[in-house]
């Protein structure tokens, strides 16, 4: 989800930075947000890493009676074919985190690289801006569905598609930042001394873009987790793995899921898990943004001046 600060990058609002500053004052403490977010993500990561050790059963094994209710042997009961819900929940964390993190890494890398590249020359800038705008115009989920229909919906395909399609918005922001930095006097000085454009980029400009990249990374993880879960929920996910979205999908396929109480242990845990993980990343992303807000905003506004 794009927050207020990010959206405001698209238009010029002279008073906005002042408004945001007031917000920061009004907000009492930033700490809890980051803390809660980090603990959620940390807990999920622990689940994912320790799954083989703490999961009571193999998530693919038919270890229980079909539709078993929660019991001592199966704390969260079993799904419609008799696989242990708790084990699937623990292992499912792996897929969500894997897809989220790897897709975000790819996307951030592309956005960062291209954003920086735009500072090399005017031509590069034009190409990067144009491509970024094009990416923004694509409907992401339909595109992922289309590619998955061609190539089969395996985890690598989903990761690559998400990584390749979501770099647009942030490449633009980083490009804006780069352009703003380029105008600064110290860059001119460096050029005068004879530093090549590439060197300028790497030594001077790139470090300034780090906070943006970090914020972007977190937000992309959030988006990728949602996208993968949605795809799995539709039944278009990887058939060899069981992710949280798959669990929700299977539960929704059951005819009685809403009529008896089984939605409590078959639907709620996985849906809640997805929701919590996403919320965790959202909190972290929010905390990072508000902390580095003034800097980001100034840079974006400066970019808008240039873009006209």
């Amino acid at each position: 989800m794009k927050t207020a600060a990010h959206i405001s990058a698209a238009v010029r609002i002279p008073g906005l930075s002042r408004g945001m500053a007031r917000l920061s004052v009004a907000v009492p403490r930033l700490q809890p947000r980051m803390a809660i977010g980090l603990s959620i993500v940390g807990l999920t990561s622990a689940m994912a890493l320790l799954a083989p050790l703490i999961a009571p059963y193999d998530p693919h094994a038919y270890s229980a009676a079909p539709l078993a209710s929660p019991s001592l042997q199966h704390w969260l009961g079993a799904n419609d074919v008799g696989q242990d819900t708790l084990s699937q929940l623990l292992y499912g964390a792996r897929i969500s985190l894997l897809v989220g993190l790897v897709a975000a890494i790819a996307s951030t890398a592309i956005a960062w690289g291209l954003g920086l590249l735009s500072g090399v020359s005017r031509l590069a800038d034009a190409i990067v801006s144009g491509s970024a705008d094009l990416m923004l115009a694509l409907p992401v989920l339909p595109l992922v569905i289309l590619v998955a229909a061609y190539l089969g919906a395996s985890v690598p395909v989903v990761i690559i598609t998400l990584g390749v399609v979501t770099w647009g918005p942030f490449a633009r922001i980083i490009r804006g930042q780069v352009q703003a930095e380029l105008r600064k006097p110290y860059i001119e000085a460096a050029r005068a001394v004879g530093t090549t454009p590439v060197r300028t980029l790497i030594r001077h400009i790139a470090p300034a873009t780090v906070p943006t990249a970090v914020a972007k990374f977190v937000m992309t993880v959030q988006y990728a987790v949602v996208a993968q879960a949605s795809l799995a929920f539709l039944g278009l996910g990887d058939p060899t793995t069981i992710s949280w979205g798959d669990m929700v999908h299977r539960a929704a396929l059951s005819p009685l899921i809403f009529l008896d109480n089984s939605w409590l242990w078959r639907l709620v845990p996985s849906a809640l898990a997805i929701g919590l993980l996403v919320v965790g990343f959202a909190l972290i992303g929010w905390a990072i943004e508000e902390r580095s807000l003034p800097t980001l905003l100034r840079l974006r506004l400066a970019r808008e001046v240039d873009e006209g």
């Binding site: 959206i7 408004g19 094009l134 289309l146 849906a271 929701g275 006209g308």
Partner: protein, 326 residues
């Protein structure tokens, strides 16, 4: 105008992608253009049948020829033929478009109106609604289907007051008040899907409006207006609100991308017969002409909405109008 050219170029690029995608992905392009199979189904065809199909789709022609043919089809509005539905794709899309438009329009209006009103209010109260903002932010970051399932449980099962699937009661006897009766039925069926989409969209509008309001409130012209003796309400609506709206308009254009993804999930969850559900069905049956057409349509819609938002902003904001078109 510079931005008009930019949009046009993007449109051309979009069409180019749509043309190139089936031909660029691995496998036989015939698999990608003839639906219902994917790469494996082609093994069924005899060599002559294969050649015939290639000729029929023009795939044995050199690429420039194919491109010209593609352009011709686009101009004619011919989006191909869906073999799994035995209908031209254009007709399938036109049949379902009204339903999706209904959901998209209603949810955007709901999210926009409520989000902006609440945002204006919250901005006025100088950031006092921190808890609410936090909750809304988090609700808005949830996946659509999680919100949707939650609503089904709340309003369709535990307290069953709303229908949870379909767009209308089939063959509903609309009774004497023909329009009124059917409208109520349509509204009831659209309620949960629209609510789901709106809930996910609303936080973005709320937060942006709040930030923009806060920004406007600090400006000198507001102090001037107050000094002139305008009521606070007047100040809020005519001055703060109108200016704070500007970024919201841009937001509309940017939200459409995620909204289209949400529409696929929500329509499938609620069995709503719109374009999103069509995407899902087409994905299941590997109906490539339909998938490609929907992708293209989605991109065009996003571009169009962004262009419109740009235009609207220029009209409202005199500062932008005064800019030289560099």
């Amino acid at each position: 105008m510079r931005s008009a050219i930019r949009y046009l170029l993007l449109l051309v690029a979009l069409f180019a992608i749509s043309f190139a995608l089936p031909r660029a992905l691995p496998g036989d392009p015939l698999a990608a253009l003839a639906s219902g199979g994917g790469q494996d189904a082609l093994l069924v065809l005899t060599p002559q049948a294969h050649q015939q199909l290639l000729a029929y789709y023009g795939l044995d022609q050199p690429l420039p020829h194919q491109a010209l043919r593609f352009i011709g089809e686009m101009i004619r509005g011919d989006l191909g033929y869906s073999i799994s539905a035995s209908q031209p794709v254009t007709r399938l899309i036109l049949d379902r478009l009204p339903w999706t438009l209904l959901l998209v329009a209603l949810s955007l209006v709901l999210a926009g109106v409520f989000g902006c009103a609440a945002g204006l209010l919250a901005g006025y109260r100088h950031g006092r609604y921190e808890r609410l903002s936090a909750v809304l932010l988090l609700v808005g970051s949830l996946p659509d289907f999680v919100v949707g399932i939650g609503l089904i449980l709340l309003l369709g099962v535990l307290v069953p007051i709303l229908p949870t699937s379909g767009a209308a009661t089939s063959f509903a006897d609309c009774g004497g008040l023909a329009i009124g009766g059917c409208a109520a039925d349509l509204a009831a069926h659209a309620a949960l899907p629209v609510l789901t989409l709106a809930l996910v969209q609303l936080p973005a509008f709320f937060l942006l409006m709040r930030a923009a309001t806060l920004g406007e409130l600090g400006q000198s012209y507001i102090t001037a207006a107050r000094a002139r003796g305008l009521t606070e309400r007047r100040v809020a609506t005519r001055h703060v609100g109108r200016n704070a709206i500007l970024p919201i308009i841009t937001l509309l254009g940017l939200r459409l991308g995620t909204l289209l993804g949400g529409v696929v999930v929500v329509e499938t969850l609620f069995g709503y017969p719109g374009l999103g559900e069509l995407t899902y069905q087409a994905a299941l049956s590997r109906d490539f002409p339909v998938l490609q057409a929907l992708f293209l349509l989605g991109g065009v819609a996003i571009l169009a909405l962004n262009a419109l938002a740009d235009l609207w902003r220029r009209r409202i904001d005199p500062r932008l109008r005064a800019e030289p078109a560099a």
